[in-house]
Symmetry: C2
Subunit: 77 residues, 2 copies
DNA sequence: GAGCCATGTAAAGCATATTTGACACGCAGT
DNA sequence: ACTGCGTGTCAAATATGCTTTACATGGCTC
């Protein structure tokens, strides 16, 4: 498996929209490492559902507002 | 870490609400194994975000309709 | 120019999710 | 009683998420 992930996110945008929150800040607030935030923010892999919920809650927005799932996305049509 | 998961779901209910869809059916439709469906349905572990999106899409409902995340869940208040 | 801060990269290792295959049980139909 | 189906369980193997540590860069301040 070489594909990174199909889920995109708006974390970076939300971070700035929430008072210049840094990656480290967000990481701490959620309870994960900075690494994890970086990787997710860059779409290297999709987080666990729990992580996703925590992130969306950190920004006080619905989950669908943070993560977008592109259409029916076939692996290899 | 011994806790299984904090995320609950309504998969079983949705399956029946969608024409007696069996676990195997759902698994195939989503592209995972029956094992995975069983485990998630029983809350043994929380799926990846992608999996969650696929499941909710299989039922044509918003993600928050399938998975619920309990309050602010503190590990040890 | 030295020092701090925010961000990015990399590798090793542990934890968890997902797969595969096999078996058990209750229930309906023949 | 036998068969098929939906569900559940167990165990081992592979894949992926997450952590830890360490180092590199650009921008900023002093």
């Amino acid at each position: 498996m070489v594909k990174s992930t199909n889920v995109t996110n708006s974390i970076r945008a939300l971070r700035f929209a929430h008072g210049e929150m840094t990656q480290a800040d967000l990481a701490q607030r959620i309870g994960v490492t900075r690494q994890t935030i970086i990787a997710i923010e860059q779409g290297r892999y999709s987080p666990s559902l729990e992580m996703a919920f925590q992130i969306s809650r950190a920004f006080a927005v619905p989950l669908d507002d943070v993560f977008q799932y592109p259409d029916t996305e076939r692996q290899s049509p």
